[in-house]
Each structure stands twice: as C-alpha cells, then as structure tokens.
C-alpha cells in the first residue's frame, strides 16, 4: 500500500492520523481510497464538480504530480504521497484571479523541505 501524508488541518477527519495507508495504482485511485476511508474529507479536497480544489498539492516523493502525469501518476507499493495545501487569501478586489501554487517548485528549497519531512515521517 502507498502511504499518504495528511496535513494538520485535515487530520481531524482522519481520526488524528498523520499518515494513511491507501490502495491504488495511481494517485487518483489512492485519493479515491482515502475518501472511501474518510468520507468527510471530500468537501475539503474536491469541489462540487468533483475536481480537486485548487489549493490541493500532491507530491509523489519530491515531485509535484503536476510535473509528472497528474492524477494518473503511477504509484508503487512503497510510494510516499504528500498532500500539501496552498495557504492563500486576501481582500475582495478587482482581481478575481487564481493563485500561483507552485512558485517555488524545484527552485527555492521545496525539495529539501520534503526530504526533511520525509525523514521524519518515513524513517528508513
């Protein structure tokens, strides 16, 4: 089974678990299994159209799935998937835009941060 790391604000929906074992040949199936296990998570991860909310970032190992094959990114038995929310907000104004969610990918320390957290979460 793959392991999926849950961020702090969502752990109240996983009985406090920071890591959840999930089945799936790819990220989409792993997320489906997560929702099967913890249905109350769904509205906080998916919008009404069944699409992942824009603040949901998923990494397999050190790589954002946006840079891989998206939700079709394959997973092996020992895959480590990390769910990271983008934290964003602001005042209502003329700019009804989206948010850059990957401004630092591969550039300013995300990979080292992921390695740090993986060492804590998935000790060898």
């Amino acid at each position: 089974m793959a392991t999926l790391k849950i961020p702090t604000p969502l752990r109240s929906y996983t009985n406090g678990q920071a890591e959840v074992a999930v089945n799936g040949d790819n990220v989409a199936q792993a997320m489906e299994h997560l929702i099967e296990k913890f249905p109350t998570l769904k509205p906080h991860l998916y919008n009404g159209d069944g699409q992942l909310r824009p603040f949901v970032n998923l990494f397999v190992g050190e790589n954002n799935i946006k840079d891989l094959q998206g939700l079709e990114t394959p997973l092996d038995e020992n895959a480590r998937v990390i769910l990271i929310p983008s934290i964003a907000g602001g005042t209502d104004g003329v700019q009804a835009d989206g948010v850059q969610t990957s401004v630092c990918i591969g550039g300013c320390g995300l990979k080292s941060a992921l390695r740090d957290i993986e060492e804590r979460c998935f000790p060898v």
């Binding site: 604000p9 990494f59 990271i84 907000g89 602001g90 948010v99 969610t101 992921l114």
Partner: protein, 140 residues
C-alpha cells in the same frame, strides 16, 4: 469558540502587518488545541505572490507550509491557524479567503489602515464551507 494568545504575540502579528504594508503579510499560528485553543508562537512568512498581487493577496508556498509543520513538531506544538493582514480593508474574511480556507484553522485577520494596524479578529470556516464564524480573541 475562543482563541487565547498573549498581548505580546498579538503585537507581533500586528507589527508584521504594518511592516508588510501596503502589501499583505501572513504567517502561521503555532499552539495547542485542547480544552481551549491557544497560540504559543507565530511564524511570520514571506508573501510568495507575484509583486503585482501582494497588495490584496497572500500566498504561503508549499515549502513554507512544510517547514512550518516541521517547526511546530520541533516545538512540540501544532499548526492551529494562519494570520494575515488586510491593507486598507476591513478585518472580515473575503470570498477569496473562504474559497481557499482550510477547515480547523483559526484565521486571524488584522486591518491595517494607512500603515497602522487597527484591529485583529479571528475566524473559523464552518463545516460546510459556506461561511466563516468569528471566534473571540482573549489576550493575557
């Protein structure tokens, strides 16, 4: 609902909003969530939005989120929320805030008018994500 924090931490939060003015400033609230929710420390962060949007948007990059979780673990605390400023706007959550809000988190918003922090209020997203409700801030 109630959020407890020291006057010193509230001062730090408001000073961060003033320093960031006219842009939005933001950071994490670290603390505990038991019988009462209490902020024990804050982690001010750099606004990762592109220059042109920082006056009305903030973004905490994924790497900063991960570092904040590690820092909370190191201190024996939890991430319990986010603070940010609204330059020259009221300290009420916007629709944009709601769209991007996380459950569970406390959101402290500080209104900063002409560079001066005016007031901070705290909010939590309701379970169906339809609105925020205010929680009382108690300082000691």
């Amino acid at each position: 609902m109630m959020l407890r924090l020291s006057k010193d931490i509230l001062t730090q939060i408001q000073a961060h909003g003033e320093q960031a003015y006219p842009e939005e400033g933001a950071g994490f609230l670290l603390g505990s969530d038991g019988v009462e929710r209490a902020v024990k420390s804050i982690l001010p962060l750099t606004n990762s939005r592109e220059d042109a949007a920082r006056h009305n948007r903030y973004l905490i990059a994924p790497e900063d989120y991960l570092k904040a979780e590690l820092e909370a673990d190191r201190l024996g605390l939890s991430l319990i929320g986010v603070f940010h400023s609204h330059p020259d706007h009221p300290n009420r959550p916007s629709e944009f805030d709601r769209d991007w809000a996380q459950p569970f988190f406390s959101y402290i918003i500080t209104s900063v008018d002409s560079g001066k922090a005016i007031e901070s209020r705290s909010w939590r997203l309701v379970e169906d994500r339809s609105q925020f409700v205010e929680e009382e801030i108690q300082t000691n």
